[in-house]
């Protein structure tokens, strides 16, 4: 096999390896088989063209032809001549497939099933990438460029996945790319001549060359850094590490699509809320006049990095759901309801239900119930396109009864598990201040809950990240601006800090779109709130996010709307309704609020000043300013340098160090004046040299100042005073460098200015502009500094590595090799 064909083979395989990340999008592996066929045929066409010695464009045409053939074969419309020659009908069919793919992309959640349109798009895309890679690597012999189309494939799963993509496919793609580079270089060496090993043996087979050792090591280090660095960066850990850690255990092999409840709920929430486009997710029908939020997940694992949801565990949900009404619950009334759910577009391993579900219908046995978190989950199924029904009981708590609740025993599991809180000074102080003087748990919780009011300066903004770490909490409590993530987490954190069990719940508010009893829940209805545990009552929900901003916000009697002027103010005691059902006006109708027109509740995008859509001009402006500042840096540096060199305090003229010309006897070199004059001359000369560089005049390092000045006068056509000035600068520098006594009491600045002016007039306009805006002297100096720095670092690393190798290498133990 000749080298070029080998490179072509490597290009094809590298393309396939780079296509592997697509496996996270598809449910089946049909796409891969089709892609293999496409790539093989494309490469075959390319190889054939090369065998016939076709030029680069000929190879391209051949490969495109091969791609067309593959697509016709794999996706026939039935109109083809002899089954392979495409006709107009084929083209129309392809068009239909593409539009079908477009619909699929819009409507389907991942992982997608085998839809013809998407398969066609995938085969077309991967085939095109194969063509690009082949052209780059084989025809143009620029395999490094082939990385770009490969990266294009990788960008697809990155764009589709909510949080992050598994790292393994990336490694596969990177390895493919590196392999392509290696093959190409081996081929290059082959074409150069025969390779011989150190002892004169002819190398025919592939064998690592010592010349390429550095490259290999750099490649390995590069891939490792690309994988490890994101893990090390705080804030990105929620993605890669979590998936890395749990991906292998939960789901089946080859199905790395993030099932099994490992989805980061915060990231999901943030991602959906930030989406510009609102998508319908769930349709739910219930006769409940006042349902609470539809709930699916819980985050109760609190560390200094914030709340995290953990992997649920439990038993089959079908017959195991507890009934909360069991036992003695004075002060709690229950509403029994029934709801049927149709999942439109939500792909998750957690089942959204009203709290507390008592019986599930049309739910298979793969769904399990975690009694600790009260969530229904599955390790094998997802909610995608699922229809199910359930019975539930909704508890209504009487605030007076809650007030009488006993404190949670200090040794109970719940107390231990749900009150652990990292020590964050700012939060602890705030809690102590707010709960001062409150005697029972409910009052303490209410004090904290009531604190998050618009009156206290809290506002709603989607700008903040979904970060619930200790620092972010302190930040939030100071800035008082955030969205449900911050409010729910902050309240839970503070309640925990007050010694009462609390956790964060995730779900949907019931939004604004409803026809009769059917509510349509969209991506913008996603919400997070706080649940607090009261002994004898169980988990009681509190929603701290200001209700003004939440469409479909529900404020029950035990957690009234703190911003409503007529009720629920702290200290007012229990709400008038003794049953504590629902406070009047608690269900906030967003359509009354002019700020929330258009039904966009959570996006905050329409709120003045905080909007996502109105934000980008500011980013653009900031980016523009940063770019301008960066661009201005060289010229600013140049101006600073010039000022430092030119504007210098005058030399005191009382120094009478004798000129050397008439007295050959040693004159003491030195004294502050002489040193100063020397520095002045150096500065003036450096400025002159930089000016020459800026105006693109030759600067020869082998030239003496005298020669340089003479050449300058000659080449730049300087005359009279300017020529004298240039020579004076040369002479001053010469004396400063080589003579015992430098040129004293002569101000070099006028000469320097004159020469600069003369050179500027002489230079072409373009050079002049460049000298002013991007002075080459500064850029050159920075570049050389960077090079020096890099060289130093590499050298140091090399020394360390050698030392390490010397210590670790087993060869040092071999006898008789020390001398070699």
């Amino acid at each position: 096999m000749t080298g070029r064909r080998y490179v072509g083979l490597a290009a094809g395989l590298a393309t396939l390896l780079a296509a592997l990340p697509l496996s996270t999008i598809f449910e089946q592996w049909t796409w891969l088989i089709q892609c293999i066929i496409a790539v093989v045929l494309v490469e075959a066409a390319g190889t054939l063209a090369r065998t016939l010695r076709a030029p680069a464009w000929g190879q391209l045409v051949a490969m495109l032809f091969g791609l067309g053939l593959v697509l016709t074969l794999l996706f026939p419309s039935g109109h083809e001549l002899l089954g392979v020659i495409p006709t107009g009908g084929t083209i129309v069919h392809f068009g239909q497939l593409l539009s079908q793919a477009g619909t699929g992309i819009r409507e389907m959640g991942i992982p997608v099933s085998d839809q013809q349109g998407l398969l066609f798009l995938t085969a077309l895309g991967v085939g095109s990438v194969a063509v690009c890679v082949d052209v780059c690597a084989v025809a143009l012999r620029r395999p490094a460029l082939a990385g770009l189309p490969m990266l294009a494939i990788y960008s697809v799963p990155v764009a589709v996945h909510q949080d992050s993509v598994s790292v393994l496919p990336f490694i596969a793609g990177a390895v493919g790319f590196l392999w392509l580079l290696v093959v190409d270089n081996v081929d290059r060496v082959r074409r150069f001549g025969r390779r011989f090993s150190g002892d004169g043996r002819d190398i025919d087979a592939w064998e690592p060359s010592p010349l390429a050792a550095a490259g290999r090591r750099m490649a390995i280090v590069g891939v490792l850094v690309a994988v490890i660095l994101p893990i090390a960066v705080p804030g990105m850990t929620t993605g890669l590490l979590d998936r890395w850690g749990t991906g292998g255990g939960g789901s089946g092999p080859g199905n790395g699509n993030g099932r099994g409840g490992t989805v980061n709920l915060w990231a999901l929430l943030e991602g959906e809320l930030r989406q510009q486009q609102e998508t319908d997710m769930i349709k739910i029908t219930t006769k409940d006049p006042d349902p609470y939020y539809l709930r699916f997940g819980v985050a109760d694992d609190l560390s200094v990095d914030g709340f995290r949801n953990r992997q649920p565990s439990g038993r089959t949900a079908n017959n195991n759901l507890p009934d909360p009404r069991k036992g003695d619950h004075a002060g709690v009334s229950y509403y029994e309801g029934h709801a049927s759910v149709e999942v439109v577009n939500l792909n998750m391993a957690l089942l959204p239900v009203y709290s507390e579900p008592t019986r599930l219908q049309k739910v298979d046995s793969t769904w399990l119930y975690d009694s600790r978190m009260n969530v229904i989950f599955s390790n094998r199924s997802t909610t995608n396109k699922r229809r199910y029904e359930f019975d539930y009981v909704r508890a209504r708590f009487d605030p007076a009864a809650l007030r009488r609740a006993d404190p949670v025993p200090a040794n109970s599991d719940i107390r231990r598990q749900f009150t652990s809180v990292p020590n964050v000074e700012g939060v602890a102080k705030e809690v102590a201040r707010l709960t001062e003087g409150k005697t029972n748990e409910y009052d303490r919780v209410r004090a904290l809950y009531d604190y998050f009011s618009i009156e206290n300066g809290f506002t709603y903004s989607l700008v903040a990240k979904a970060d619930t770490s200790g620092n972010a909490m302190v930040d939030f409590l100071t800035k008082k601006s955030g969205y449900c993530v911050q409010y729910a987490a902050a309240l839970a954190w503070m309640v925990r800090a007050a010694g009462i069990p609390a956790r964060v719940a995730f779900g949907f508010t019931h939004g604004s779109k409803h026809e009769g009893d059917t509510y349509t829940l969209t991506s913008r209805n996603l919400h997070a709130w706080t649940e607090v545990y009261f002994e004898g009552f169980g988990w009681v929900p509190f929603d701290a996010t200001p209700s003004t901003y939440i469409i479909g916000s529900v404020r029950p009697g035990w957690a009234p709307n703190v911003d409503a002027p007529e009720n629920g103010l702290p200290g007012n005691g229990p709400t008038p309704d003794p049953g504590g059902t629902v406070s009047p006006g608690a269900t906030h109708d967003p359509l009354d609020d002019p700020r929330l027109e258009g039904g966009s509740d959570l996006s905050g995008g329409v709120l003045p000043g905080t909007g996502g859509s109105s934000r980008w001009p500011w980013y653009a402006l900031a980016a523009g300013i940063v770019i301008i500042l960066l661009l201005a840096m060289p010229s600013a540096r140049r101006v600073l340098l010039r000022r430092r060199r030119m504007v210098r305090p005058a030399i005191p003229s009382d120094v009478a160090v004798s000129e050397a010309s008439d007295q050959p006897r040693v004159v003491v070199a030195g004294g502050p004046q002489a040193a100063r004059a020397r520095l002045d001359a150096h500065a003036a000369w450096e400025e002159l040299i930089d000016t020459l560089v800026d105006f693109r005049l030759l600067v020869d390092l082998a030239e003496t100042p005298r020669t340089t000045a003479d050449r300058l006068v000659r080449e730049a056509g300087l005359r009279d005073a300017t020529a004298d000035g240039a020579r004076l600068l040369g002479r001053a520098e010469e004396l400063a460098r080589y003579a015992r006594v430098p040129l004293l009491t002569t101000d070099l600045t006028p000469a320097l200015r004159a020469v600069r002016r003369a050179l500027g007039i002489r230079a072409p306009r373009r050079t002049r502009w460049q000298a002013a805006l991007l002075p080459p002297s500064v850029l050159q100096r920075w570049r050389s500094t960077a090079i020096t720095w890099t060289a130093t670092v590499l050298e140091t690393v090399g020394v360390w590595r050698d030392a390490l190798v010397r210590v670790l290498s087993p060869r040092r133990l071999l006898p008789g090799r020390s001398g070699r």
Partner: protein, 349 residues
Amino acid sequence: MTTQRTLGELGEPMSNSEFRAVTDSIVANIEQVIEGKTATVRLALAVLLAEGHLLIEDVPGVGKTKLAKALARSIDCSVRRIQFTPDLLPSDVTGVSVYNQETHDFEFKPGAVFANLVVGDEINRASPKTQSALLECMEERQVTVDGTTYELQVPFMVIATQNPIEMEGTYPLPEAQRDRFTARIAMGYPDAGAELAMLDVHGGEDPLYALQPVSDAATVRNLIATVRDVHVADTVKQYAVNLVNATREAPDLRLGASPRATLHLLRTARTVAALDGRDYVLPDDLQALAVPVLAHRIIPTAEAQLSRRTTDAILADLVHRLPLPTDRQQRSPYDTRPSHPEPTDYRRR
């Protein structure tokens, strides 16, 4: 490696103006005989003041011997001339012990080198044996005959001429001998005007005979003392070392310049600077002297010879390419002396 004379023996250094006056008068005096060769004449004088020896190499008839003799005559000191012939013996150069019948003892008869200025004409015509007689006296300024060492006078200078064209019956100077010459200069043809003037001047009687000495050995000793006082900055020293090192590392050269060459280079540069009226040496001086001082000591590789690159061209190329040492990298790594104090307030870069 050079004479062990002290400054006291050399005499007192002169002031700049005195120095200029004396040297200018010597140059003017020689120029009465050699027209239009000021640079060559000054270089010859520089070699004398640098306590070196001069090799004048050129085609016949351009005035090599005349320059040597004019220089010798301009200074009122002892001058000897040796015509190097194939049958010349070493004892003719150094001197010989002859038996004195009156004293019944061997008596040393000094040879031609016992003078301030020794003009060796057509030096490559003598056999290597005879040429070797000059080795000791040129470098060590002494002569050892029959186990007795005789010191030579100060100043002592050998001015040798040789003919590069004629190969028949000549013995090329060995490297050791060439290395002892401070500089090799070529006379070159005079320009048209100078040649016309020469016809007038030399038409009648030889002006050499009318030449009066304008200086003497004592004055020359003073001049040498003055030259020794010329300041050489660290950077310039570094440049000299770099330059010589470059000849050793140049791929075109089989043999680079010796450390003696470095010494000669710097010493001649001092003189040239002094002749120029400066009390400090410039890299320009070294650049100008690179070819005269170094070219005859280096040997190009066979490839360079085949591609007809002369040593002069190779050296000029080196000089053109070697960067000047700047303040910041001037110090040799072996130099532990503190550098001159410098306020560091705005030298940051």
